[in-house]
Symmetry: C2
Subunit: 314 residues, 2 copies
């Protein structure tokens, strides 16, 4: 069976795969453009942003696409559905780094590390900077899946109050309360932090509207580590410029990379990071663990992990 990777995992992972599945033929390419045997692939392992309908249609024997990331919005889902392909992703491997990154943002906010660093660079000893605590503060988490739950779990450890928002409002572990999506305005009203970890789906694009930011506390900080198109750039800029919120921490954007000279880069109330919250050394090894489990199922039968429902889009 031909298994084609359109990215190159570290050498030891390649060797481990070949040793674990000696019957199969693995082909590791740096990019999909270099993948000479693409048309003979039965299994395709990709980061998900290099597939087109044309490319998929050249793969006559393709049965399964493993996406080594979480978002599948850049994939030609219509073609994939027509071809009745199995699609799995790496959902779940992001929760640890993304939750840690979120607490990095939150602690930088309450402990004013940017200002502390500026004082340090100016060699100024100033004990008067009013630091705050996470303890006792409330975080509203939009999205209560694996990542949202990990953030809520850590928030409880930090003695915070946790509010969740999901489609039906069903209660989830480590959340003090959960609101339905149509109660978003109420859900964010008392929060000190609003953290968005929503995927990009027809329902979430442009979900956050001006009245949601107006409902937030002036001192609240908005953190988006999900998808940039959750809120339009114009709405977000107005929210910070009109002091509806105190700061926006953004790891994701409507257009990535964020273009040079974009107003977000130098805005004093906006922090920009390069869609990096989920990326750590542990990323590929963890995605490959899921792939190995599913490959075993593909060969011998068993229950797949992380099968994508193509109608729902996640």
């Amino acid at each position: 069976m031909n298994i084609v990777f359109t990215f190159r995992p570290p050498r030891e992972i390649q060797a481990d795969l070949e040793k674990s599945f000696p019957e199969e033929s693995f082909f590791f390419y740096k990019t999909i453009e270099e993948a000479e045997v693409l048309s003979e692939a039965e299994i395709l392992v990709t980061f998900g942003n290099d597939l087109t309908s044309e490319r998929i249609n050249t793969c006559a024997s393709l049965k399964w696409v493993m996406v080594a990331s979480a978002g599948i919005e850049e994939m030609p889902l219509k073609t994939i559905k027509e071809r009745d392909l199995l699609v799995t992703n790496a959902r779940g491997i992001h929760k640890i780094p993304m939750a840690e990154f979120t607490f990095g943002f939150m602690l930088n906010h309450v402990k004013r590390f940017a200002e502390l660093r500026a004082l340090e660079q100016a060699e100024v000893w100033n004990k008067q900077l009013p630091l705050q605590e996470l303890a006792g503060k409330e975080v509203a988490i939009l999205g209560t899946g694996a990542i949202g739950q990990e953030i809520a779990r850590l928030a409880k450890a930090f003695r915070m109050k946790t509010t969740g928002v999901n489609k039906m409002g069903q209660l989830v572990q480590d959340f003090d309360q959960v609101f339905q999506m149509d109660q978003l305005e109420t859900a964010v009203g008392k929060a000190d932090f609003i953290v968005a970890v929503l995927p990009s789906t027809p329902e979430t694009i442009g979900l956050l509207q001006p009245h949601h930011f107006e409902a937030m506390k002036e001192e609240a900080a908005f953190i988006n580590i999900g998808r940039g198109n959750l809120v339009s750039e114009v709405v977000l800029l107005s929210a910070v410029n009109d002091n509806e919120i105190s700061h926006a921490y953004l790891d994701v954007f409507s257009v990535e990379p964020l273009p040079p000279a974009h107003p977000f880069w130098r805005h004093p109330s906006i922090t920009v990071t390069p869609h990096i919250s989920s990326i750590t050394k542990q990323y590929v090894p963890r995605a490959i663990e899921i792939f190995k489990h599913n490959l075993r199922c593909f060969i011998d039968g068993g229950e797949y992990e992380n099968v994508i429902d193509l109608d729902k889009g996640y």
Copy 2:
């Protein structure tokens, strides 16, 4: 009874004290120099750094010194002992802000927020910055009291390994293992973070020696939020300059404020913050809660909180 404060709590706290103890006479001064009725004080409430033997000896009726901080090393302990005064402090109120601050340092370290901020200021989108995770890393905590335990508790929530160091090596909750002080070299050898939360006592002054830093991993980060005199400046500078460790995060110093032009300020492998880890808006209210409990005991009897053992120094 005359209760003299050498700092001014917020107005609502003053009002609450006067309402809660209507029989007593409270005097609130901005500094000890302004405290006109100092000599008539029976109870003195201070941050602990404004007392001298002379001042104490002018207070003929003094029975109790409440220190609204944790460190008592700047107090004239010999005179206090001779006078047989009760001394209590605000031990325990520091654990939440100091543990949070420690995780701010640790997350800034693994998530490279200083570099991310430099990239942002240069408007450069770089996803290649190799971020790390706290999960799976080991933290060695020197001191397993209230603050050390709170750090260990959060470390377990972050899926870290926790090593403690205390006098006798007795196991404490949320620590995977605890070493005796004389096994310090072994204790720090596998740690990714070494966090010092020790008080200043004859045993801890200059405790960390060059061989301890040599025993640490090259990629380890050293965090000191306890007392600056735990390690001499020369030893610490050598440790970072010789790459015995990768970074030192320092909130405390042998001489505070850290003098202008001191080599720590601009050292690329040293981060300086102004002894601020414990200071938040919640500080004075929490200290006053302890004081109120003890004042009730002073009047009606009962068990005091946080009595200082003047022989041990904590």
